[in-house]
Amino acid sequence: MKELKILLIGQPNVGKSSLLNALVGPRVVVSNYPGTTVEITQAEEIFHDVKINFLDTPGIYSISDRSEEEKVTERALFEEEIDGAIIIADATSLERSLYMVFQILEAEIPAIIALNFVEEAEKKGIKIDCEKLEKLLNIPVIPINPLTKRGVSRLVNAILKTCPESLSFARDKLRRRIKEVARRGFKIRYDDHIERAIDKISTQVKGRLPKRLVALRVLEEDEDFYKYLKNEKIIGEAKENLKEHPKIAEDISITRYGTASFIAEKVTRLFSSGKEKLAGERIDNVLLHRVWGPLTTGLFLFAIFGTLLYLGNLIQNVLMGLTDSLLSSFGAAEHSIITVVLVQGLAGLAAGVSIALPYVFLFYLLLGLLEDIGFLSRFIVNTQRFLKKLGLPGKAFIPLALCLGCTAPATRATRLLSSKKEQFHTASLFAFVPCSSRTAIVMGIVGFYGGVRLALSVFVTLFAAGLIWAFGIKRLIHVKSEPLLLELPPYRKPLLKNVFAKSWIRMKDFVYIVIPLLILGGIALGILDMLGFTNIIVKPLSPITTTWLGLPAVSIIPLIFGFLQKDLTGGMLVSVLGGEISSILTPLQIYTFGIASTVGIPCIIALGMLIKEFGFKRAMGLTITSIAYGILFAGLLRRIILFF
């Protein structure tokens, strides 16, 4: 069967992922927040005996190397053998979409424009002449609406037609043919000094990438692009040219945008549309108000957290009851290695499921809903000032919020920040954002045995500990945080199907990585316990527990081994103490235990994800330091409280 590889490209919130959903069914993520899909999503579908492989790229404004999203897209463009690109354009601001169309055509990739939000534009009094645009650019332009599937089959036909006869060609011949098709598209003619520089550089370009493209990328100092160069001498050539024309890169982008608005103006007709929708403006007047904005954002987060705790507790109780009765039928058997493995493995699975379903999935569902409506970007604007004070970019809000669910997917989400330094700084704060397991400790141990007020004070302490840490780190590593430059999408009705699909993708890490590791951690713990290893550490580490933290020496077992399986921390504490906690521990001890067990990178799973993102040394360093910090902080606080 013939295969085509088609790239989907567009600005954030332009409906890229919705289009992919309309093309291949609900198998991909859709988002209403700029830059959520940091990875490329793939989906295949067969149309008229041709298999089309769609690659969905993250939303970007231009092709360059300045953010992780742009780098990912650039890689897909130049490393995959792309047969064509669909550029999803926004009819309400055509010139902005055309900017990228020119860049795709410079890369000699056949392009098709899918024009989205045509109806929305008409409501705003904008009409676009697709046929005229088609003629001007010499590429197909198709109005679409992914929700009603309007234009979707026309789009598929256009893809197939872009190289119709070529489908019978051999692969190398096909490539040549594709380039021919691409070359027919519109190309910008830059100013003489730019064209001269392009000519000069392109004579020395080698390799399969188009010479003009290479020259332009080098002139724009796209450093990420340098790895595709076969002849590195041209970098020097471009630098030489910069001496003469220091603002050549600026001139290039000015020409691109100028050309884009010139063409957009030619095909756009403005008319008065009567009344514009004002509901969105009214919401923004509250959500972006200098006082109400931050307040409502806080209220929203508080409401989400509350709903989560309430509903999560409800579901967890039912699930726990079920698994407990299942476990007790095993537990009666003797202590052989098989029963240990079985019982502990099952306990791990039970813990995983009883957290996954209520806390993680429910939370990501709510978050996805807020994202697709358009609330999330407003929240970022409201929280960015606070985050900036901590030395974090506004976008760090997303991974930090995700961490309230589970640290593992949150670690992955740090990728949407632009520098490794920012990513690591954000990840280091996961030590203080209680994930659902840690919330369960605070609620289940501290709250259950010490009262709600004590539990609340643990949360407050966590927050304070995090603030001190963040300011410390900010001093230490001097992150120059990225300035806020964020588009706020109009409010849209969310598509539930898309919200579910997205929550599932975020859940995937949890299901495929976290739950198996929870089971393994549970088993490892059971075996260590059976062999008596858990008791070995009690004595040598008693200075920490009894002297520093003022806790019974055995409580080191849940503190340390909780790292293998955070959700068993509570259960372990009950079993090592061998009785009713409230009669053995004072409220202060419960509080100290709560702090010591929740501050820090929580578990071996989070550590694993951190290693994957930041390397072994940094991840270990962070984990050990943050846990030590937690124990130090808990002991210090105890002393202060005792002093008063």
Binding site: S64, I126, D251, D284, L484
Partner: protein, 201 residues
């Protein structure tokens, strides 16, 4: 218009402008060829077209403007001057001619009109932060040393000559509306966007 047609359009405008700027009546085709940096067939074709439309006279490898051509050339030269003056004012003259040269073929009429207004207004060029909430203005310049931020802004539609309105103000950032899009940005970025203030509405 195809790609070829586009080049032809630019070449035609360049020929008319060169003739309009030249002191002498007649200009040799060779000097046109050395002035305009495209392959010869385009120039020959453009000359043929202009000649056919009665905008220039072609004689013995020399060309000159007809009366109708002079009118056309005057417009083009004027457009070029507006842009050149504008760019000179805002960019300290460096590369002014070149930027004007690019823009004249591409920038839309509305943008040109706005720029023309701007370059005649002395008050042009206050930082965006000086605009009050709900105030309107036209972007006259973007001053940045970092090309990355500059290109990001341009590709998001923050461009010279565009109308801009501040819709909300929150602590250290503002929300602006350009066209149909809302963009949130820090005040330190807004400092670098120069605008001409419109009357408050």
């Amino acid at each position: 218009m195809t790609k070829e047609g586009d080049i032809l359009k630019i070449v035609r405008e360049d020929i008319l402008r060169t003739l309009g700027e030249e002191e002498t009546e007649e200009v040799s085709v060779d000097s046109i060829k050395s002035d305009i940096n495209v392959s010869d067939p385009f120039i020959s074709k453009a000359i043929k077209q202009l000649n056919g439309e009665g905008l220039i006279k072609y004689h013995n490898n020399f060309i000159s403007l007809t009366e109708r051509g002079k009118e056309n050339a005057r417009d083009i030269v004027k457009k070029h001057r507006i842009l050149e003056n504008y760019v000179k004012e805002t960019k300290n003259g460096r590369d002014a001619h070149k930027v004007a040269h690019i823009l004249e073929h591409y920038v839309s009429k509305e943008v040109i009109d706005n720029i023309k207004k701007l370059s005649t207004l002395k008050s042009a060029g206050v930082p965006l932060t000086e605009l009050e909430c709900n105030g309107k203005g036209i972007i006259t310049d973007i001053v940045f040393s970092d090309y990355g931020v500059f290109e990001r802004m341009v590709s998001m539609g923050i461009f010279l000559g565009e109308r801009i309105r501040i819709t909300n103000e929150i602590s250290d950032s503002i929300v602006v509306k350009i066209g149909n899009k809302k963009i949130a940005l820090n005040k330190d970025i807004a400092e670098n966007i120069r605008i001409y203030k419109n009357e408050r509405t």
